[in-house]
């Protein structure tokens, strides 16, 4: 399983009604709200064993799956 597949699976656990793979402005367009974000952070914590700090909860890090994956890789030191 690639990291992207792992990420999409984790996101689907939080919201199965959002097309994460194809959306580019998840936060800015209001497709996910602050509560979804907190769930996503918990899901990423579990899937990738990383702890995202509050300062990184910014729309630009969660607007699309590419940005989220970059954030995950930054925490993993990749």
């Amino acid at each position: 399983m690639t990291d992207m597949e792992k990420l999409l699976a984790a996101l689907a656990e939080v919201r199965d009604d959002v097309d994460f793979a194809d959306e580019g402005a998840l936060v800015d367009d209001g497709l996910i709200d602050s509560f979804d974000l907190t769930q996503i952070i918990a899901a990423l914590d579990e899937a990738f064993d990383i702890h995202i700090i509050t300062g990184d909860i910014e729309p630009e890090n969660f607007n699309n799956v590419q940005s989220m994956l970059e954030l995950v890789h930054r925490y993993q030191g990749k």
Binding site: S34, T38, A42, T54, G55
Partner: protein, 482 residues
Amino acid sequence: MSILTVEFLAFAACTLLLYYLMPLKVRWLVLVCASAVFVCLSGWYSAAHLTAVALVMWGGGLLLQKKKSRLLLAFLLVLDLGAMVFLKYYPAFSGADLILPLRLSYFTFQSAGYLIDVYRGKAEARKNPLEAWLFIGYFPQLAQGPISTWKELGPQLRTGHRLDPDSFVSGFQQLLWGYFKKLVIADRLASVTTALLKGGDLPGWFVLGGVILYAIRLYLDFSGGMDVVRGFSRMAGIELPENFRRPFFSQSVAEYWRRWHITLGAWFRSYLLYPLTTSKAGIGLGKAASKAFGKKTGRMVPSALATMLVFLLIGIWHTANWNAVVFGTYFGIVMAASMLLDPVWKSMRNTLNLPKDGWMKPFRLVRTWILTLIAQYFAFTAGPGQGLSLMAQTVQPWSFAGFAEQMTGVMELTEWIIAAAGCVIVLVVDILCEKKIDVCGGLAKTHFWIRWPVLLALILVIVVFGVYGSGYDGAAFLYTQF
């Protein structure tokens, strides 16, 4: 100095004139001087407290930038927020009579946000104390809000802006629109709230109508004031963050709170909700709850608990009384319940094969109205007892006998007609904005001979139909005391 007074308008006009007469480099100092005069006119106590908070913020910011210490941040926040908590809540317990600095809760939150942002590396600490002072003392913001972050406001204040005719006219339009909402409609509706608070044997329809009108008045009052200060700021080239985005069109209570007092919600989200829910303890709690309730619901538990705390604090932030506790707890429970029960709603929707849009949209709109109106019973009454008693009156069998007398007992028919016409105008503009038709932007771009007659007519309406009396500066803005 209230923004409703002629003195404020003259003061704002002089500030703008001086601002644009000065060289670009020193224009921000005009704002510093104007804000210093404004805050001093609000009382020496306000000026002293604001300056003390600015100094803590300035020095603390520099120290935090030098050494990222969590202990130091905690100390600074206790100092900053502690002073506010003491001044705001000590009198409620002790009965002492303390003078509250103007907009204490606003500038305290803004300075606390700055310190946290510097700690998080989101803002660069300012070396010049005047820049830090202006960030929390900028006078239009001190008059009405919102709560800005450094990133949103700080750099804009420090930059000298050139006169841009489009922004200037657009700002002027917004300023007039704000005065229209406040003086022509909101202040007129104040007599409805007075009639409700008088009590007595009021019919159910009157109480419900009165509470609905209170909600509308609160929106027009607060968002009108915001329009005035955002409009003035835009005339000076400064864009203050949006604080209201037509909340009454919300499809859920969560959406309502994303559109109502947006900057307060953003502050609590960024500086309390996220740190609580995404801390190691928050994530750990979610994992433990997942074992008991399943992954989906379990992960929501920390968010639900943090939301309840946030709304309780939002309630108490408004004022220190039991009504605020009821208001905050109620919204916290509604939000947490809607979050935790979301899977249940979803399966119910699927089972009943309910559409996502169609008639469900007005249904959700009405549901949101009902849920938010329940809270309004505790927003303007003297205590939870009076709120509950008005609720009981609402659900009693309705009798429309004496309808006309009841209505004209509040205000004359012409006053009702003016208020209703004003509400219709705001509703039409809001509906157009909801449909992404930019009425204000459109007007600003129209031909001179269309734009200015419309604006002059608006000025005339404000002057003629605004609620004034001898020596009267309008009902004080409902939010000024916070």
